[in-house]
């Protein structure tokens, strides 16, 4: 079966086929033989032909897979090119700079207003949660398109805070 993997800005064509009780995986021009077994919820053990064993925590949200190794976390998007799922996701994400609250809390300060140009890393607002003031920063250069919240407001996790339009639009 063929997939497209997206990781670190790269698109990698992947083919997975069964190989005895294991799998043969072609990634671009590399081949891997690996077996994967469940070790309780979320935990998986992957073993390569030379015996290399990796214990990984696997979680998935739609086509996005999170693979946590002992000392690193890898996010990879795996899509079946035959399905239309990916298209839907891209539309959802394509808009870019929607900045959301990653946790519930209270907006302490809003440092920007509509029309401001901001640099990557600039502080946009301060959200107080878990006894800490958290500065929410711009992930990229952009122009403030909309500010959805004001100081003093309580927000839920996932609330849209600010919309940044890319500078190059």
């Amino acid at each position: 079966m063929r997939f497209i993997a997206r990781h670190g800005g790269e698109e990698i064509p992947i083919e997975v086929e069964r190989h005895g009780s294991a799998y043969r995986v072609r990634m671009a021009d590399r081949w891997l033989v690996a077996d994967v077994v469940n070790a309780g919820p979320y935990l998986r053990s992957l073993r390569l032909e030379d015996g290399t064993q990796l214990t990984l925590v696997h979680d998935r949200d739609g086509t996005m897979h999170q693979i946590s190794l002992a000392d690193s976390i890898i996010h990879v998007d795996i899509t079946d090119p035959l399905s239309l799922k990916r298209k839907g996701r891209e539309d959802e994400l394509g808009a870019g700079g929607v900045i959301r609250a990653l946790m519930p809390g209270r907006i302490v300060r809003v440092m920007i207003k509509k029309g401001d140009s901001v640099r990557k890393g600039a502080s946009l607002l301060v959200l107080e949660a878990m006894k800490m003031e958290n500065e929410i920063q711009a992930l990229a250069d952009g122009v403030v398109d909309q500010v959805f919240v004001e100081a003093g407001q309580t927000v839920e996790s996932g609330t849209e805070l600010v919309h940044l339009a890319p500078l190059d639009r």
Partner: protein, 497 residues
């Protein structure tokens, strides 16, 4: 004896464990957000004390005393934070005839004001960091001190502690902003806007000495802890012993700490915090009149149980330890595991812990406050657990900590585990070559992508295989050879016979 624990999270669990080992029954208190928190699950009784915000629950003296009365608790352990250093609470316990497991209200009060404690220490011959010994409320007074002593200085909340309500000021133009923010934080965190200022000790190490005092006038020190590694003035890694303290200095610091504690007629467990400059000059910083977060590193190296000592002291027993007979053994390091995402500037990461694999095995102690299936609430300190390792040498302890961190897997929320993994590999950490600014200076370095150790391909392959399995509905059946169902049937059978 029945002990109510006026706290939550890992420290409430820690105190419950000690009580259970001493045969005391325990009462947990909980806010509406904490009905299923671990400290409730481990207690014999549990009483609600209000809505989630601390101010309406864990800081409500009236409700906590009410819970103590309703359950017939004889004593209250305040843990750290919340009401642990609240004079009014300690007094209210005394007035209600309930043992407060901590020092006297008078000791708390004397040490609670950073400025008063500085005066007391000076009088007792304990060196303090040069600076104001009176709290001030106006910017002009702070500015006057700054002009006189020169920059950089520290502006601090007089009622502060625990790394909150303080600012480093390097240049005059930043002073007003710092003064305003510290004043505001002092008011909001400690309910008292008074501040003071000290000379800034450059590149210091943060060393603290554990003391124990009883009601019979005995005060001993239990060695020092190295708490230099901080991020934004919050300790993140603590060690025992300190690599810069030899036996002679240990004696000297211990004696100064005992002198400091005696100056306020101290009993129970307490900590004298000190700063050591690069010239090895040591200054009194503040006294924490409570159990510290990092008390386990002392316990593991010195073979004492500080919480049990607190409980025994509170019952009026004499300290059974003799300082001369105690020797530190091996080395211990503590990592504070937080629900924070190091890759996103340590942003809080509350939410459902879907899965945990806990580190186990030799020399590993995990003082936990959470479990798999627990939803980390947004309202409180995001500490999940304290991971403490102990081994014969510092190098072995670091290697053990690395091993434990590899075993420690949490899914559902982000944690500071990857940060500690990187720290344990840092050359300067291995050499114990650091000061209090080390982590903030080296953060980019420490948070560098580790690149999956060349295992990125394998990880991508794993994701593809798992996607393939799902698309093919290839699922390992949940095997279940469990015998209890049949046992249940047999018991039911027996019941009827």
């Amino acid at each position: 004896m029945k002990v109510l624990i006026a706290n939550r999270g890992e420290i409430a669990v820690r105190v419950i464990r000690a009580c259970r080992e001493l045969g005391y029954s325990t009462v947990a208190v909980y806010s509406d957000a904490d009905r299923a928190a671990l400290h409730v699950l481990y207690a014999d009784q549990a009483m609600p004390v209000g809505p989630p915000p601390s101010r309406e629950s864990y800081l409500r003296i009236d409700r906590i005393l009410d819970a103590a009365k309703k359950t017939g608790a004889d004593a209250i352990h305040p843990g750290y934070g919340f009401l642990a250093e609240n004079v009014a609470f300690a007094r209210a316990c005394r007035d209600a005839g309930i043992i407060f497991i901590g020092p006297s209200p008078e000791s708390i009060e004397a040490m609670g004001s950073k400025t008063e404690s500085r005066q007391r220490m000076k009088a007792a011959g304990v060196p303090v960091v040069p600076g104001l010994t009176e709290p001030v409320r106006s910017f002009d007074e702070i500015a006057a001190f700054a002009r006189q002593s020169g920059f950089p200085i520290m502006v601090k909340a007089s009622a502060g502690g625990g790394g909150k309500g303080l600012r480093y000021v390097e240049r005059e133009e930043d002073l007003r902003n710092a003064f305003e923010r510290v004043t505001s934080e002092a008011q909001s965190f400690f309910g008292d806007g008074a501040v003071y200022a000290e000379k800034f000790i450059a590149s210091p190490r943060h060393i603290e000495v554990q003391v124990l005092g009883d009601h019979h006038g005995t005060i001993i020190d239990v060695g020092e802890r190295e708490c230099t590694l901080q991020r934004r003035h919050q300790k993140v890694v603590e060690e025992c012993p300190s690599t810069v303290v030899d036996e002679a200095l240990r004696r000297k610091l211990g004696e100064a700490a005992v002198r400091a504690a005696k100056a306020v007629d101290y009993y129970s467990a307490g900590t004298i915090e000190m700063l050591m400059g690069p010239d090895r000059q040591v200054y009194f910083l503040e006294m924490n009149t409570r159990l510290q977060v990092e008390h386990p590193v002392t316990e593991m190296v010195w073979g004492v149980d500080l919480v049990k000592e607190q409980l025994r002291i509170a019952r009026g027993e004499k300290i059974s330890l003799t300082r001369e007979k105690m020797t530190p053994s091996g080395h211990a390091i503590e990592c504070r595991i937080y629900a924070e995402d190091p890759a996103r500037h340590f942003a809080p990461s509350p939410g459902l812990i879907r899965y945990i694999n806990l580190p186990q095995g030799p020399g590993v102690r995990n003082d936990n406050g959470v479990y798999a299936g627990y939803n980390v609430p947004v309202f409180y300190d995001p500490m999940l657990s304290k991971l403490i390792c102990h081994a014969a040498t510092r190098a072995e302890t670091i290697a053990r900590m690395k091993r434990a961190l590899i075993e420690y897997r949490v899914e559902g929320i982000e944690t500071t585990i990857p940060f500690f993994t990187a720290l344990m590999d840092h050359a300067d950490f291995l050499k114990a070559n650091f000061d209090t600014g080390f982590i903030d200076r080296n953060l980019a370095d420490l948070m560098q992508e580790r690149g999956g150790n060349g295992h990125v391909d394998a990880a991508i392959a794993a994701a593809a295989i798992l996607a393939f399995e799902e698309s093919q509905q290839i699922r390992l059946p949940q095997q279940d050879n469990s015998a209890w169902k049949q046992i249940g049937r047999l018991d039911a059978l027996k019941d009827r016979s």
